[in-house]
């Protein structure tokens, strides 16, 4: 996955968790939960989906790395380098 694809992957996961949220125009550097309705349970779902779809483990101490789209891409980029993007599952 390229860096852009990592962002796509994250957005696709958020879309399944929070279908009512508008994801177009999100500021990548701002905290996600300051822009859309995401609670701590939703972040847990993101972690579970990442494991299920891409086989990536995010340990509890790293949950904070998922705060914004930019920090997601920074953190997940290296882990997803050799993994293919899957969208719409």
């Amino acid at each position: 996955m390229t860096r852009d694809e990592v962002t796509l992957a994250i957005k696709d996961i958020i879309e399944t968790i929070a279908p009512d949220e508008e994801l177009v125009g999100l500021n990548p550097d701002e905290r996600l939960r300051d822009q859309i309705e995401l609670d701590s349970m939703d972040f847990l779902d993101i972690v579970m989906e990442l494991r299920k779809r891409y086989g990536v483990q995010v340990p509890e101490e790293d949950y904070k790395e998922l705060a914004s789209l930019t920090s997601c891409a920074d953190y997940l980029g290296p882990k997803l380098e050799d993994v293919e993007l899957k969208v719409g599952c």
Binding site: M41, L44, M48, R51, K52, Q57
Partner: protein, 514 residues
């Protein structure tokens, strides 16, 4: 809930089994055809156990869900009685968050049937009014009816919303109330009573538990599931089966088996389960217990597998209190007018937190179930369920005669109380029955009939269980905040994520070595 019912004429009808007579012996093997091995065995099908099992099944794990009762659902349950009555045990109302939780972890169809109650009412010697049960309405009431300063009230709610785990847990809820609303017993009553009924807590709990629960619960109304608990649980069962979960009821787990790895550390190896005609040993990489926390640590696992400090910590955990309920069925063909959906009522002049659990106390909630709650039923039926908090110790040592007469008294007091709101009701009730802490103990196997899990200190050993014994996890009512429908279901999700992570790690290691 109980096996004994008392007819309005005062005659009691006994059946040869129940809370005082033990269980019906089973002749069948309820684990017939069970597999020798699963990824995870879930012990108990309360909302936490079921929700966790559903997520793990959906994630492709091989899940066996074991339930000792003949129905799944735990306290999310119902029962039928002669006269065509269906009584819901705990469908009184839950926070709006349940809608999102059901959509994400169950199905859109289940979530779509979650609707707000039309009316919630308070009535006691200090205040009487209807409320939408929202933060806005509570603010309005506190300002206009209790003459409090608006800024003070808004400041209090803002303070509650900011509270989390990391705050000082020495401050009690009572102290917090006293700080914001000194000497205002009426305000304390309004703020505490609904929460006490919702999770068994009182003014002595850490204030952070109050802050977290209040912000979830007393903020956006009270919700229920249209169709009745039976419809909900059958939809959940269908979802579990669709996700490949092997569900077995009437199966009593006797032991969680433990083995030691090459590193000398213990991990779970499976369970020993009594399934009636046969006892089975089933292997599994993980076990998620939805049994009571203390039962899980002190009974299902042999003590030698834990550090003595951990056993001591578990022993020191206090159980939360229990409940009494009175179920009243309106005769077929009769009706009652719409009064309210949920009524918090008391004849006690002043609020005293602990008196909510008194034997024959003056405070109770009435949940009114009208035909609108079961639109698919052919007949229009009405039931009323009264609930109070209760202390197990008050009921535990009664003789059969005392037990019988105390239940009868409870039924009579409840019916008289109800008559003050519905004068005609006595003549319309053709079925009345009481459940007590002993009934809760019998049906759920929770020590002390605990209907709200444990006090706050139960949270740490529940969350840390897998660190003590590899592959063993706990989900269920604990720590006051993980209690009630939403708390239990969400805690099931939190722990399912941990189980899933543990199994994933294990499967990765196995793939690497094979």
């Amino acid at each position: 809930m109980t096996s004994d019912n008392i007819n309005p004429d005062g005659k009691s009808v006994s059946r040869p089994w129940g809370s005082r007579h033990g269980r019906i012996p089973q002749k069948k093997d309820f684990l017939e055809g069970v597999k020798a091995e699963y990824d995870v065995v879930v012990i108990g099908s309360g909302l936490a156990g079921m929700t966790a099992a559903n997520i793990l099944g959906r994630n492709g794990q091989r899940v066996l869900l074991l339930e000792q009762h003949f129905k799944i659902g735990g306290l999310a349950t119902w029962f039928k009685r002669p006269g065509g009555h269906i009584f819901d045990v705990s469908l009184h109302g839950f926070p709006v968050g349940m809608k999102k939780t059901c959509r994400k972890y169950w199905s859109q169809e289940i979530a779509d049937k979650i609707v707000p109650l039309d009316k919630v009412t308070f009535d006691n010697p200090q205040f009487s009014f209807d409320t939408t049960f929202t933060r806005e309405d509570f603010t309005e009431k506190l300002v206009t009816q209790f003459d409090l300063d608006r800024e003070m009230v808004e400041g209090f709610f803002a303070h509650l919303r900011k509270m989390d785990f990391f705050d000082d847990s020495n401050l009690t809820t009572g102290e917090l109330f006293e700080e914001f609303f000194p000497g205002r017993n009426d305000v304390h009553r309004l703020l505490m009573e609904p929460i006490s009924y919702a999770n068994g807590s009182n003014l002595d709990e850490p204030a952070i538990t109050y802050g977290i629960v209040f912000s979830n619960f007393m903020s956006k109304g009270v919700y229920t599931f249209v169709g009745g608990t039976d419809v909900l649980i059958s939809a959940m069962r269908a979802e579990l089966l669709k996700n490949g979960v092997d569900i077995r009821t009437r199966v009593q787990v006797e032991k969680i088996q433990v083995e030691y790895g090459s590193d000398g550390k213990p991990h779970v190896a499976g369970v020993v389960a009594n399934a009636g005609a046969a006892t089975h040993t089933i292997r599994s990489s993980a076990v998620l217990s939805n049994a009571n926390l203390k039962t899980t640590i002190l009974k299902l696992v042999d003590e030698e597998h834990f550090r003595p400090e951990f056993v001591a910590e578990a022993k020191a955990v206090r159980l939360n209190n229990s409940s009494c309920q009175v179920y009243m069925g309106i005769r077929a063909g009769e009706s009652i007018p719409f009064l309210t959906d949920l009524l918090f009522t008391s004849t006690r002049t002043k609020f005293q937190s602990h008196s909510l659990s008194d034997l024959h106390g003056e405070s109770r909630t009435f949940s009114f179930y009208y035909p609108k709650g079961r639109p698919e039923m052919k007949e229009e039926r009405y039931t009323i369920v009264a609930s109070t908090n209760a202390r197990y110790a008050d009921w535990a040592d009664m003789t059969d005669e005392e037990y019988e007469s105390n239940k009868r008294q409870l039924c009579e007091e409840t019916l008289s109380h109800l008559e003050t709101y519905l004068p005609e009701v006595r003549s319309k009730v053709d079925y009345i029955e009481a459940s007590t802490p002993r009934s809760f103990e019998f049906y759920t196997q929770h020590q002390g009939g605990s209907s709200f899990g444990t006090k706050f200190e139960g949270l740490a050993p529940s969350m840390n269980l897998h660190l003590e014994l590899g592959g063993l996890f706990h989900a269920g009512s604990v720590g006051i905040i993980m209690s009630g429908w939403l708390g239990a279901a969400n805690y099931g999700v939190i722990q399912a994520n941990k189980v899933d992570s543990y199994l994933f790690q294990l499967q990765q290691t196995q793939n690497a070595t094979s």
